[in-house]
Amino acid sequence: MKIEICVGTTCHLMGSSTLIESLEELNEKYCEKIDIKYRTCFELCHGQMKPPIVKIDNKFYEDINPERIKTIVKNKLGNG
């Protein structure tokens, strides 16, 4: 699974750094099945989507917080 987290200024100010920490925890749990990449800006935060924005397997998700990203990852990867 490829997760791209926007760490550009707008997403950073809206809390994207907290996502990095929670994903690192998740990655340990899922034996490094997650490929985490930092991205600068998807250019979607100017009215189209609510930051922080995350791209998971080529699909964009908006207004992400640590709980929501955990739920998305768990739903996609199941329990294994």
């Binding site: 760490v7 550009g8 200024t9 707008t10 950073h12 100010l13 809206m14 809390g15 994207s16 750094s17 907290t18 990095i20 920490e21 930092y38 600068t40 800006c41």
Partner: protein, 475 residues
């Protein structure tokens, strides 16, 4: 070290400031200011509180603080009344500004949380012993509906019931602001809302961090800085506090922040670490020529604490200016042009320091320059890398222990030193200072140092790691 959690209050504050700067840049602040509460909180339902009208009222007060106004002086003014004076306010000439106060309590937002009282929780198992009832000296505990209940009219908050309960079922209700303030500067007003006793307060900002209702707020100079960038002809200079390390996430180095600030319109950007190097050398000289204890002077909240609570040690405070003031003072002497200096840091006590020493013109926090980057559409991670000039010792002023280390590196002999790491330790450390013969006392009001300050954006653990990494990068 501060347990840093990103929360909804930070989000709301940042969104508010962002909308304000956007309006300013579009030259619509004057005409549209009064529309902001409705724009940010469209309703009809409340987002955070029961009523959207209540939320908007709190936001209105917050907007006035973000314009730099004093809460008490502007409290009863509507936003459209403020709009009429916007130029006067942003050029710093308004009578509604009071630079001596940075922290304010928005009474409309204060939930007047109960404090000092005891409360029996669901954990009460209606046991046979009834020790709580028996331990109460005022007969304040009765059993109703299968659970102990405290009669608040009779209760004297002695806490004996809590100590006697084996299920930990009795809680002491506390106000986060009051608990976080280590010098008891938070009091109650006539209606029970929190109020700051400015005679006691040292502006450390712990109440600001701790209030879960966002009722403790600071004034902002952000719009004023934008105004200056547009209208003021002086040479604009930015000073970066050492704790800026890692504040903008994994892709933004300090060197990139420097060039991003230049793109915004600051003609020169200096590292306060350079000022820190000057201060460390000066303090080392001073210590070597003094027989008495010397305390550091870089943390304004610590200095204020010594003046107010350990006044016998006021004479021991190092005569050096803080690295910020020292560097600003140096620049004003060496540069030919008149300067408009903006300090960028994690600290809110700096405003108080500057009220006394008047070395810089504006003080911004890291999140405020983040908003500046967004407003000006500049992404620091895409900017060029610039070299760093300060030494590692200078940068390390950002962390507890860093200042005394830097000073000691300038002294060849071994000296006996002690650290006051967080105001919660202050009394204990000064008791120890009284008993022993220390040469150097490093004082930092925030536990962990400036990387744990009230205006940080990154977890201090990450900042500490990044700070250590600097050791290999610079000498």
């Amino acid at each position: 070290m501060r347990n840093f959690v990103f929360n909804e209050i930070m989000k709301l504050k940042r969104q508010t400031l962002m909308e304000m700067t956007k309006l300013f840049e579009e030259d619509k602040l004057k005409e549209s200011l009064f529309l902001l509460p409705k724009k940010l909180l469209p309703g009809p339902e409340g987002t955070y509180r029961d009523s959207v009208y209540h939320e908007r009222e709190v936001l209105k007060q917050r907007i006035k603080l973000f314009l730099g106004l004093d809460y008490e002086k502007s409290r009863n003014l509507e936003l459209f009344q403020i709009s009429e004076h916007i130029d006067e306010i942003l050029s710093g000439k308004s009578e509604l500004i009071d630079k001596s106060k940075k922290l304010h309590i928005i009474k409309e937002g204060c939930d007047s949380c109960p404090s000092g009282r005891y409360y029996v929780t669901d954990l009460c198992r209606n046991c046979v012993a009834h020790s709580c009832m028996n331990s109460c000296p005022k007969d304040a505990i009765q059993f109703e509906e299968g659970r102990a209940k405290i009669d608040s009219d009779k209760c004297i908050s002695c806490g004996l019931c809590q100590q006697s309960c084996n299920y930990y079922a009795i809680m002491k209700l506390e106000r986060p602001c009051e608990v976080s303030c280590k010098i008891d500067a938070i009091e109650k007003d006539e209606i029970g809302a929190a109020t700051i006793n400015y005679e006691k307060c040292v502006t450390c900002g712990s109440c600001y961090i701790s209030c879960p209702f966002g009722a403790v707020e600071t004034t902002s100079s952000l719009i004023k800085v934008l105004y200056n960038l547009k209208k003021n002809s002086m040479k604009k200079v930015a000073l970066l506090a050492p704790s800026i390390v890692s504040q903008f996430g994994p892709k933004v180095s300090i060197g990139k922040i420097k060039s991003a600030l230049k793109k915004i319109g600051f003609e020169e950007v200096y590292e306060v670490a350079i000022g820190a190097d000057m201060v460390a050398k000066e303090e080392a000289d001073y210590i070597q020529n003094s027989d008495d204890l010397v305390t550091t002077s870089c943390c304004p909240a610590f200095v204020e604490y010594v003046r107010k609570y350990q006044s016998e040690y006021e004479k021991n405070i190092s005569p050096s200016l803080s690295p910020m003031s020292h560097l600003a003072n140096y620049l004003r002497k060496t540069e030919e042009q008149e300067l408009d200096i903006t300090f960028i840091g994690p600290c809110i006590a700096k405003e108080k320091e500057n009220f006394l020493f008047k070395q810089v013109d504006n003080i911004l926090t890291f999140e405020e320059i983040g908003i500046l980057f967004i407003t000006k559409n500049i992404e620091p991670s895409n900017c060029e890398e610039e070299d760093l000039e300060g030494s590692y010792d200078g940068w390390n002023f950002a962390s507890s222990g860093g200042v005394s280390n830097a000073v000691k590196n300038y002294i060849n002999a071994d000296i006996k030193d002690i650290k006051l790491n967080g105001l919660n330790q202050a009394k204990k450390i000064f008791d120890e200072v009284k008993e022993n013969n220390y040469k150097l006392l490093e004082g930092m009001a925030c536990e962990g140092g400036c990387i744990c300050g009230p205006g940080i954006m990154t977890n201090p653990r990450i900042a500490k790691r990044k700070l250590n990494n600097l050791k290999e990068k610079i000498k």
